[in-house]
Symmetry: C2
Subunit: 320 residues, 2 copies
C-alpha cells in the first residue's frame, strides 16, 4: 500500500502536537502538510510574529519547550530584558532564539517575500520535512469582543491571559484573504484530512474561513475523497488547553465534545473524542458523524504518534 | 566661572572615549553634546544599525565592552547563533543585548520617528545625560573604492576587516543631508568644540561634510567664539585603532600627526598631539595651529577624564 498523504488544519499547541504525531507515524514525513492559522499573528517591536506557525515549526523540529507548550527549549531572554531597560513594553515574551525567527521572517516579509515562502525556508533550515503552510499570505486578524471592548488577539490571549469573556469573535481581512499557494491542493489531495484539536473559534475558523478552504473541505465529502476527521479539543467538558471551554459557553454552545461535534457536523466524517466522553458517542452519531473514542490527550511524542496511527487506522490506512 | 559647554564631533571608539572623558570631567554632564557620524550605518537582517551612535551610547552609559572597544559588556549571542542556524549570513556580530537597541531603533524609524528622536530616547533610557546627536537624520553611506571595487562601509570594515587598500572614499547622500535638529547649535554654541581622535576620512569627514556643519565650524573662528580643538588619531605614525594610517597613506597624506594637522588646518585652532610626536610641534605650528602635546592614549575612564580636563584647561576652562 502506498503511504497515505495527510493534511492537518492546525492552530497552535494542539495542532502542533497532532501534526508531530503524523510526522512521526508516516513512513515519509514529507507526506504531511500542515495548514496553519495566522489570525493570531501580530506585529510587536516592529517584528512580525506568527505564533501558531512558530509553535508548529518548533514542535516539528523537535526544538519546542514541551513543558511550557510554546517557544523554544533552553531559551534565554537577554534581548527582551534589555528592551525593557530601553523602555519597551515587554508583556509578550520573546526569547533570544525565538527572536531569530521573527527577525528573519520580518526581513523577508519586508523585502516582499510572501509568508508562505519564508515559512518554507525556515522549516527547511530547521530540517522539518513536512510542509508548513500558512493558510494565507494575506493578513487576517482575529479580534475578540469582550465586556472590556474589542481586543486584538494577543492583547486578549497573552497580555490579559484570556481572562475576558468572549462575546464575539471577528476575523479582520478573512473575507478578502486568498489561500496561500498549496493550501487548496493540500486540503483536496490528502488521503486523510484532520481538523486538529485546536480552538474551533480562535484557530480552526480563521483557517476554514479563508475563502475556498471550507468549500474544498466540503467538496472532499461530495467527491468521496479520503476521510475527514476532527479531534475534539474538549475533554470531559474542559479544554485540554486554553480558553476553548469559556468561549464555547459565552458564544452559546454546549461545552462538550458534542458541542464541538455540532460545529463540525456536515464538514467532517469522523469525530474523534476522548474515551472519557464515550457516553456522547450516540448523540454525536445522531449528527451523522462516525465516532472514534480513544485517548486523545497527547503527552510526549509517543502519545502523539499513537493518536496519529489510530486516526490513520480508523480511516483504513493502518501503518505497519 | 560658569561650567563650559563642550561639543565633540565623534566617530566610534575614539570619539566615544573622549566624549566619556568630558562627561566625567564636566560639572554638569548635560553640558556635553556629542555629534556623531552616521556614515557607517547599515541595514542588516532588516534592522537598522548605527555602530558609531551605539559605541558612544554604550560608552557614555558605562555599558560598553572596554576590552573589545565596541558592543556591550557581558554579551551573549543566542539570537545570532539561531539566525545562523536559520541560514542567515552572520558575519556582522550582533549580541543579544545589542539587538535590543537595533530592534527598538528600527521600529521607531519605521514608524516615522527621526533617528535623532529615537537616539535621544535610547540615551535617556540608559541614563545618559550628555546629548547624543546623529549629525543628520538623513541617510549618508560611506563607500570605499578599493582594488576589489566599491565596498559598503561595513563590508569593508567588518566583513573584510579593513584589509583592502582604500583608493577613494565617497559619501552617498552627504551633499543632500540636512543637519539633525540641534547639531548646528551644538557646533556654534559650545565653549569648546572638539574634533575627536576619530578617523578623518571614515568618521570626521561625513560629519563635517553635512551641509552647514563645516561652515558652522569655520564661522566659530571668524566670530571669535570658543576654541576649536582637534585630537590626532595618529600617534607615532600609527593609528591608535583602525585603518586611519593605511587610508592616510593610500590617499596620499603623510601618516603622522602633521598629516592630520594639515587636514584640519584652517578649521581648528589647536592641534592636540601625543607627547611621542612632540617633535612635530614646530611644523604643525607653522600651519597656524596652536599645539598641545600630551598623553593622548586614553585607557580607562581616568585617562579619558584627564585628557578632557587638559583640553579644557588648554583653552582657558580649567576645572576645579
Amino acid at each position: 500500500m502506498s503511504s497515505p498523504r495527510v493534511t492537518v488544519l492546525a492552530g497552535g499547541v494542539g495542532g502542533a502536537r497532532l501534526a508531530h504525531g503524523f510526522a512521526l507515524a508516516l513512513p515519509r514525513p514529507s507526506d504531511l502538510d500542515v495548514v496553519v492559522n495566522v489570525g493570531d499573528d501580530t506585529e510587536l517591536h516592529g517584528l512580525w510574529i506568527s505564533p501558531d506557525l512558530d509553535t508548529v515549526l518548533y514542535t516539528l523540529a523537535g526544538l519546542n519547550d514541551e513543558e511550557r507548550g510554546w517557544g523554544l527549549r533552553g531559551e534565554t531572554y537577554a534581548t527582551l530584558e534589555q528592551m525593557a531597560r530601553l523602555g519597551e513594553d515587554t508583556w509578550f515574551t520573546l526569547g533570544d532564539k525565538d527572536l531569530a525567527t521573527h527577525v528573519v521572517r520580518t526581513a523577508a516579509l519586508r523585502s516582499g517575500q510572501p509568508l508562505s515562502t519564508v515559512t518554507a525556508r525556515l522549516a527547511a533550515s530547521l530540517g522539518v520535512a513536512p510542509r508548513l503552510l500558512p493558510v494565507t499570505d494575506d493578513r487576517v486578524a482575529t479580534v475578540l469582543t469582550t465586556p472590556s471592548g474589542r481586543l486584538a488577539f494577543q492583547e486578549y490571549f497573552v497580555r490579559r491571559q484570556h481572562a475576558d469573556a468572549v462575546l464575539d469573535v471577528a476575523y479582520e481581512g478573512l473575507a478578502d484573504a486568498r489561500p496561500a499557494p498549496g493550501v487548496l491542493d493540500a486540503v483536496t489531495g490528502a488521503d486523510l484530512l484532520v481538523v486538529a484539536p485546536s480552538n474551533p473559534f480562535l484557530s480552526v475558523e480563521p483557517v476554514l474561513g479563508v475563502p475556498g478552504v471550507r468549500d474544498a473541505v466540503r467538496a472532499r465529502g461530495e467527491a468521496g475523497a479520503g476521510r475527514r476527521v476532527a479531534v475534539s479539543p474538549i475533554v470531559g467538558g474542559q479544554a485540554v488547553k486554553g480558553p476553548a471551554a469559556q468561549i464555547l459557553e459565552t458564544l452559546g454552545h454546549e461545552v462538550s465534545a458534542l458541542g464541538v461535534a455540532r460545529l463540525y457536523a456536515g464538514l467532517v466524517d469522523v469525530m474523534v473524542i476522548d474515551s472519557a466522553d464515550a457516553h456522547l458517542e450516540t448523540a454525536i452519531g445522531d449528527l451523522g458523524l462516525d465516532v472514534l473514542a480513544t485517548d486523545t490527550i497527547m503527552g510526549g511524542p509517543a502519545g502523539r504518534e499513537r493518536l496519529a496511527r489510530e486516526l490513520l487506522s480508523a480511516v483504513g490506512h493502518a501503518l505497519p
